[in-house]
């Protein structure tokens, strides 16, 4: 009996549970009907409400650079609206306003006679025009303050700052990344008494003021940014390249001081630019690094003690079979010291070091330097680059990865990794926003230098730095990166590009780069210059290194960095721009020259000249010259007097004098 009663109670409870399920389905169906089936009806009704609520766009926060200059500001402007119900004589008002607004009377009349209770007459009026209309004192015409985004420095740091759309939503760059903080609160304007006649909101009254969003302070220095942009543009246009990137970073902190892209755009008119101009290549693109990668290979090998600084490697005379293929050096070398592998950028030497290190250790160091992972810089659209797990390296992969092929990375990754070498071994988290504060100056967000991990020891870092200094010394591949008065550590990179159509290395397209830091002992700046598809020469040492040198020189002058070594006699006083790269007649006579013939230049006689002299002459002609050995020139190709073209392979061999 008792069990029976409990059984029935349970059945009845289940019935109630089922009824609940039914009524909740009913509610869901009703919501579906109201919100999805009939949505348009309600949207229309909302628009026709007697009382209209107009959102007021808030002023976005200002973006400042590290010197306090505004890069993006919101300017307050008057917007003019009409409440047609309150206008006595629409044709007359239209006739008075139309000429002022530079629109046709008919058009305005049509607007005012529509069914809406609220229409914008014109938004963002010029101040004098707004005053003129206000002075007319027409009933039913009102004004409200709205804001509009303006970029006072136009192109400067355009890719970093980004831009906003018509409604003030950030679409790119810091404008996008920090959109929600910079947005501010939307205000509302109520245009009529509300339907119940309650005396809450009166005609044209702002019921809620919009409030300005937070201000963003960048680490970018407008002046260094300008230098980087100017020199990058010069390097890209000078080499008839398609694009380029220049990055300047503070190695100890990871602060970005400049991030320049070419081609660039004016954010005040971003709609007129092609998408490829708007992209921030420094974080959004990845490329094969080529030889700059050898820095990290050798750093890993030294740290793991598989090689020591003074070891020598047999570079097989320029051709070496590995993993079923043959790799080549651009010049033939016999035996090279580890530092020379970097200095002359020997692929064979790199492959041999890679083999000693082995795939696991190389991979773990590359991961350690941050490759294959986002740096998590506070900019949108960052790519990870491409670094396969070492379990998926086959055949020649270990060898090619050792000299920077078959992997890809972003400019920001490369600059961050080189900064780790510069600062004594710590991989920093790069950042570009120093702080965000509200309008009372209260700090909402503050960035601090953040060490992600220690990658290599202080000792290894300084050894590598010394070796990188050799690259810019006489005979190195990066002599054009040298900066008068300062020691420069760096590495050139020249990588074949993969043709997206054939998925194979392109015969002609190259990415030329130079990355390094200055001064070597107490690095102030890490600088990376990447030139995409240069035409005049494909070598990083030719195309990118001079831009590096210019950016470094001018930035150090601007930062008032004291020179660490004696200036050369011809050096310019700090602060003044360097002379334009013109051939100076005195030097020409002394060092031999090119004579422009119908088919190109004639090869000068370099015999007996120093490496520096050779480079000075060749560099000025944007010719690509390979320097073999060190000391005085003894042999050259082509022979003196022969005609040469830009695309020709030119080499000069040197032997130590006496």
């Amino acid at each position: 009996m008792r069990d029976d009663r409990e059984k029935w109670a349970r059945i009845r409870i289940r019935i109630v549970g089922t009824v609940f399920a039914g009524v909740f389905v009913l509610v869901a169906a009703r919501a579906f009907y109201l919100q999805i089936v009939k949505k348009d009806t309600w949207v229309k009704l909302a628009g026709r409400q007697h009382q209209k609520i107009v959102p007021l766009t808030p002023a976005r926060g200002t973006i400042y650079d590290s010197t306090g200059a505004s890069l993006a500001v919101s300017i307050e402007m008057d917007s003019c609206f009409a409440e047609p119900d309150g206008i006595e004589n629409i044709p007359e008002v239209a006739a008075r306003l139309a000429p002022l607004l530079n629109i046709s009377k008919q058009e305005l009349e049509k607007k005012l006679k529509g069914s809406k209770n609220f229409v914008w007459v014109q938004r963002h009026l010029a101040p004098d025009l707004a005053k003129k209309i206000k002075d007319l004192g027409i009933d039913g015409i009102g004004f409200v303050k709205e804001t509009r985004r303006f970029y006072p420095n136009s192109e400067v740091a355009a890719h970093v700052v980004g831009f906003t759309g018509l409604d003030p939503q950030g679409l790119e760059g810091v404008e996008l990344k920090y959109n929600s903080m910079m947005l501010g609160n939307t205000g509302y304007l109520v245009t009529e008494r509300d339907a119940l006649g309650r005396d809450i909101a009166l005609k044209g009254q702002v019921v809620k003021k919009s409030s300005k969003g937070a201000n963003v302070f960048l680490t970018v220095d407008k002046n260094i940014q300008y230098i980087a942009e100017k020199e990058l543009t010069k390097a890209v246009t000078g080499s008839r390249a398609t694009a380029g990137i220049a990055l300047v970073m503070e190695p100890q902190t990871g602060k970005i001081l400049a991030m320049a892209n070419y081609p660039s755009f004016n954010p005040n008119a971003y709609r007129h630019y092609a998408p490829q101009c708007l992209r921030n290549r420094a974080v959004a693109d990845s490329f094969e690094p080529g030889s700059t990668f050898k820095v990290f290979l050798i750093a890993a090998a030294l740290e793991e003690k598989v090689v020591s600084q003074n070891d020598t490697l047999n570079c097989e005379g320029g051709s070496y079979a590995v993993g079923g293929r043959t790799i080549h050096d651009t010049h033939k070398y016999g035996s090279l010291k580890i530092s020379e592998v970097l200095k002359y950028s020997s692929n064979i030497g790199a492959a041999k070091i890679g083999a000693k290190l082995g795939p696991q250790r190389l991979f773990s160091y590359l991961k350690g330097f941050g490759f294959g992972d986002r740096t998590e810089i506070d900019l949108p659209g960052e790519v990870t680059g491409y670094l396969r797990d070492n379990s998926q390296w086959y055949g020649i992969d270990l060898a090619t990865i050792s000299f920077g092929q078959g992997i890809s990375l972003s400019a920001i990754q490369l600059a961050t990794a080189v900064s780790a070498v510069a600062n004594g071994g710590n991989l920093m988290k790069p950042y570009i926003v120093d702080r965000v504060s509200d309008n009372n100056g209260t700090i909402l967000q503050q960035s601090y230098p953040q060490i992600r991990r220690r990658v290599i020891s202080q000792k290894t870092a300084s050894t590598i730095a010394k070796m990188m200094e050799g690259v810019t010394d006489e005979g190195g591949t990066g002599t054009k990166a040298s900066v008068d008065g300062f020691t420069v550590a760096g590495k050139t990179g020249t990588a074949q590009k993969v043709d997206p159509l054939t998925r194979r290395y392109s015969a002609s397209k190259r990415t030329a780069s130079f990355v390094g830091f200055v001064p070597v002992e107490q690095p102030r700046l890490t600088i990376l210059v990447v030139i995409d598809e240069p035409k005049t020469s494909s070598y990083g040492g030719v195309v990118a290194a001079p831009a590096f040198s210019e950016i470094a020189m001018q930035s150090l002058c601007y930062l008032k960095a004291p020179p660490g070594k004696p200036l050369k006699a011809k050096a310019q006083p700090p602060g003044s721009p360097l002379p334009p790269p013109k051939v100076q007649p005195a030097l020409q006579a002394e060092e031999g020259t090119f004579e422009l013939g119908d088919e190109g230049y004639a090869m000068p006689d370099f015999r007996g000249k120093s490496m520096r002299q050779v480079l000075r002459v060749m560099g000025k002609r944007d010719l690509n010259v390979k320097l073999i050995g060190s000391g005085r020139a003894v042999e050259q190709n082509p022979q003196p007097g022969q005609k040469i073209k830009v695309s020709d392979q030119v080499w000069v061999r040197f032997v130590p004098s006496a």
Partner: protein, 367 residues
């Protein structure tokens, strides 16, 4: 082999999530109005936050009290509540808002005894149904006494006047009797008998008649009697699939009456869209199904009736509120449990959930 399950964590999760969501929505719905009225946009947010904390405290306490305690306490609590309901009606003690005296003002705070009365009545019924065992099938012992107590309570509630609470309580009573085994014929004839009273209660009170007329044809006078429901429809309807975004609703700006209390669900519909509505409805549904599950597997008859009564009350209130907001039912002043602004309702409901959780901790299921 039977084993105790411990507290029903899904119920805890749903209730905490709904309450926290409620605090957010109260802020969204009230901030502009509060700025205008009190010069403090956080006015209602602060209060609702404190109520939620007090409510969680009440829930934590009730969870730890062996629910058999309420068997002994049921009759004294019921009598106390009836006393309070009488007190509310005495001018000078009861405070009134909007033409009805529902509030009992004490130094420092005020509360609505009707919220407490609902739980007291459920406790009383669970206690009494358990005591009477099989006698619930007889009219004189198992039906009539409840009707008398219910009638007294409803009269006091209607005097306030609070038709919404009266109808909810009546429904909960009938559903509990149904589950306890009362003959359907009694329940149905009771409902038939109640209809003329209901008709009288509505048609002889002007504002209720207008509400019904507005419900039947809101477009007859859209700016007056039909105003509330049309504004609610516009709010919910313009939400679409994804909503306008949290805090972005416009209807709460003086269109929606009681945007932070009875019509808070309109704001949910407008700001979070169909997806938000579905999530909230699903959370309520899950909560109620878990509550009913506790009733099904409760240790004893008292626990079963109590768990069932509490679940039914919460489910019914949620359903009726959402039904009103979406225009299935005519407007009446009923809060949405856990979400609407209001201290008494939130604290008492959380307290009742605490009791439900204590019952759930003793649930035994075959494993």
């Amino acid at each position: 082999m039977k084993k105790a399950e411990g507290y029903d964590l899904i119920i805890v999760l749903m209730v905490v999530a709904l309450t926290c969501f409620g605090v957010v929505m109260v802020y969204s719905a009230s901030s502009i109005m509060a700025t205008k009225k009190f010069h403090d946009g956080f006015y209602f947010l602060k209060r609702q936050g404190i109520y939620a904390l007090l409510g969680f405290g009440a829930m934590a306490v009730a969870m730890r009290i062996d629910y058999h305690f309420w068997k002994k306490a049921a009759i004294p609590i019921l009598l106390a509540c009836l006393g309070l309901l009488v007190l509310v009606l005495i001018p000078g003690i009861g405070g009134s808002a909007g033409g009805s005296s529902r509030w009992l003002r004490l130094p420092g705070f005020s509360f609505q005894p009707s919220e407490m009365a609902k739980i007291a009545f459920i406790m009383y019924m669970a206690f009494s149904l358990d005591k009477k065992q099989d006698k619930v099938r007889f009219f004189s012992t198992g039906f009539l006494p409840y009707m008398v107590v219910l009638a007294v309570m409803l009269l006091l509630l209607l005097k306030q006047p609070d038709l919404g609470s009266s109808l909810t309580l009546g429904c909960v009573a009938m559903v509990m009797l149904f589950a306890a085994g009362t003959r359907l014929s009694y329940i149905l004839s009771m409902l038939l008998l109640a209809l003329p009273f209901l008709y009288y209660a509505i048609m002889h009170v002007d504002y209720r008649r207008r509400r019904i007329m507005a419900f039947l044809n809101p477009w007859e006078d859209p700016s007056n009697t039909g105003f509330q429901i049309i504004q609610s429809w516009i709010a919910v309807g313009t939400g679409g699939v994804f909503g306008q975004g949290l805090g972005e609703g416009k209807q709460k700006l003086f269109y929606l009456p009681e945007a932070h209390t009875d019509f808070i669900f309109s704001v949910v519909g407008e700001e979070l869209g169909f997806i938000g509505v579905m999530v909230i409805v699903a959370m309520f549904f899950l909560l109620i199904q878990r509550g009913i599950r506790v009733a099904l597997y409760a240790e004893d008859n008292f626990g079963r009736s109590l768990a069932f009564g509490i679940s039914t009350l919460v489910g019914l209130e949620a359903f009726v509120n959402i039904a009103v907001v979406t225009g299935i039912f005519p407007t009446k002043g009923l809060a949405l449990p856990f979400i609407s602004y209001g201290g008494s309702s939130l604290i008492i409901t959380l307290f009742a959930v605490g009791i439900l959780l204590n019952i759930s901790s003793r649930v035994r299921v075959l494993s």
